[in-house]
């Protein structure tokens, strides 16, 4: 089995988890910037975090032969303070040329507030200016359906961003069809208690099709399993799905979306054939 985990918060994980993922067949992973569980005190704290994402984590991943990529932003959970968010957004362009940066993410909404929406729109402007891919976080639980609709509207209001270059993550049964019908890519995040289980993700693939959908573990500091993508692959296998169809979902789909970013395209062939990062 080979797979890509396109949403993995590895700063939260031990080195043992990199080893387990490599043993399970993880060839590459992408790590969006997210909320640390506490609000940072300054934009300089984000500069340190962006250094971690562009220098430290790629080195940890490389030890286990995994290609590491990242996305930059201030997460919507810290976006209520627009002035602070703007200070952080000013730091982002300095890091966009780094060789493992794919684009802007995970931006989006958390509680669907006006300030969160304003910061989302300003992130989208950065993405448009830099022709960057976009990875979107959708709100949790009761706020998800409304937030997903507000996010799609915000992207549509930015006419230079092609929905085919935007991945809307954490889709579930009540949002996946609208996301795909809008021309966006959808991500299913596999969590033990919230978001999507492996079995429900398999159900969604069986009912909605496999095009423009991927699965990820998120594997952050909360309850989460860094091996949830291969676990979902085993579920698909147990249901009798063909190995090529499974490979399409867990490897080729993320490859096809991510290779739209030049930083990924440069290493796509190496990832495809299984060469470790240099």
């Amino acid at each position: 089995m080979r797979y890509i985990d396109p949403h993995a918060h590895m700063v939260s994980r031990t080195t043992d988890d990199y080893e387990k993922m490599a043993l399970a067949g993880c060839r590459a992973l992408t790590e969006p910037a997210f909320w640390a569980g506490y609000d940072r005190c300054s934009a300089e704290g984000f500069r340190d975090y962006f250094n971690q994402l562009t220098a430290i984590e790629p080195a940890r991943a490389r030890t286990y032969g995994i290609h590491h990529f990242t996305w930059l932003c201030i997460n919507p959970k810290e976006a209520e303070d627009v002035g602070f968010a703007r200070e952080v957004m000013q730091v982002i362009p300095e890091f966009l040329p780094k060789d493992n940066v794919l684009g802007i993410g995970e931006i989006g909404l958390n509680k669907n507030s006006k300030n969160e929406l304003r910061v989302l729109e300003e992130h989208l402007e950065i993405a448009a200016q830099h022709q960057a891919l976009v990875l979107v976080h959708t709100p949790h639980l009761e706020d998800k359906q409304k937030g997903t609709r507000l996010i799609m509207e915000a992207v549509r209001n930015q006419p230079t961003i092609d929905p085919g270059r935007v991945l809307i993550d954490h889709v579930e049964e009540h949002t996946v069809k609208e996301v795909l019908d809008g021309g966006f890519w959808g991500g299913m995040t596999l969590y033990p208690d919230t978001k999507c289980t492996a079995k429900r993700a398999a159900d969604i693939l069986e009912t909605c099709g496999t095009e423009r959908l991927w699965m990820n573990s998120a594997c952050d500091w909360g309850p989460s399993n860094p091996l949830s993508v291969p676990t979902a692959a085993l579920e698909l296998q147990a249901r009798g799905h063909h190995p090529e169809a499974i490979d399409h979902v867990i490897f080729k789909n993320p490859m096809n979306f991510l290779r739209q970013a030049p930083a990924f395209a440069k290493r796509a062939e190496a990832i495809d054939v299984g060469h470790p990062p240099q």
Partner: protein
């Protein structure tokens, strides 16, 4: 559309998953018993849970989607200010 067609016989699905979901149903029953043994009254979350249960046996398809929608905020406009960071799992306005 490139589907992962599920050609499993229903008996295979039941054989694989019945015990897991039997256990989840009993957990839910025990949770409701536990709530009712405790002092106090239902809040909006428990009311939302009770309201969703009939969707499981109404004979209509897409139960997962409809249960998720029953817990969801149905409004369209952004709120004035985020009240915090967390989510409760049910929209307070509907129950």
């Amino acid at each position: 559309m490139n589907r992962l067609d599920n050609n499993q016989p229903r008996t295979h699905v039941i054989d694989r998953d019945f015990l897991e979901h039997r256990a989840k149903l009993i957990d839910l029953a025990a949770f409701l018993d536990r709530c009712e043994r405790a002092e106090g009254s239902d809040d909006f979350r428990l009311r939302a849970l009770r309201a969703a249960i009939p969707l499981l046996i109404d004979g209509q398809a897409e139960r997962a989607r409809r249960v998720l929608e029953s817990f969801s905020d149905p409004t369209n406009e952004p709120i004035a200010e985020a009240p915090g960071k967390g989510a409760s799992g049910a929209w307070e306005g509907s129950h």
